[in-house]
Symmetry: C2
Subunit: 159 residues, 2 copies
């Protein structure tokens, strides 16, 4: 359960349940230029480096039609993250914050998502720009980006 993140003063770790409730299948592997969190960007950019998402058998037929989408959402498993912190401190300010108020990789279910630009598909490899995860990250899913949400309603009395 240890990871690259050591517990800092003010952070709280809890005991994880002994059993898990559902199982994930790694359906591919993501290739990026970054091997440590220190090197990786905090959030990917559409003009970031070209990254390769390798899709494993038997999932290749599931790529059909994905190339019609300019922006796709990539789901991956942050396999190096510890999972037991309920509060976390940034090294920069030392203030404790709840894990759910942060987009840090350290969380009970370390699932990462990025919205990326689809550059092309070559066989089992999906080429994209906009990732921020480490080289070798296990792939969980690919989806077209969601349609834009309708605007939020005005607060009552505001109109």
């Amino acid at each position: 359960m240890a990871g690259e993140h050591d517990v800092r003063p003010g952070e709280v770790a809890v005991a994880l349940p002994e059993a898990t409730d559902a199982g994930l299948i790694f359906i591919g592997r993501i290739h990026t230029p970054w091997t440590t969190r220190r090197e990786a960007p905090h959030q990917g950019s559409p003009d970031g480096p070209l990254c390769r998402i390798e899709v494993f058998d038997p999932w290749l037929p599931a790529l059909a039609g994905l190339d019609r989408h300019e922006r796709i959402e990539v789901f991956y498993w942050l396999h190096r993250s510890r999972r037991d912190l309920v509060t976390q401190c940034r090294a920069s300010d030392g203030i404790a914050r709840g894990t759910f108020s942060l987009r840090t990789p350290v969380r009970p279910n370390p699932i990462g998502t990025s919205i990326v630009q689809l550059v092309g598909i070559e066989g089992c490899v999906v080429l994209v720009r906009g990732l921020d995860c480490l080289d070798g990250t296990p792939l969980l899913d690919l989806k077209p980006d969601r349609k834009p949400a309708p605007p939020a309603p005005l607060p009552s009395g505001a109109g």
Copy 2:
């Protein structure tokens, strides 16, 4: 592995691996008005019904500071979905499409996400609008919505 989705003509199912690669912890439960996919909206709306996200122990301290965010991302496990289809057909048109080109709940790792409006937090319950999942859906994670991505670069020669 069966679910509410029966295999239609043109759809392709594959054999799932016998072992899984990582385990998920259900950290709460989502309460919505919908008990079947037929009733539920395809995509949630910020003026949709108020829904209750119940967070289990020991994860309550992880909510600290979440109330400073107007829009949050909810991750959940689509527990009634089959996982073995690589191509799928909408009932409406019968055209086979790759699973990764769709946002259907039927996928190898049936993780759903919604961007919702945070209405309030009362103890272990997070009140939101904008969900589309079924009543009783297991909760996987809560995060602040991501910052808007910078605009995509212009195609070369377009400027």
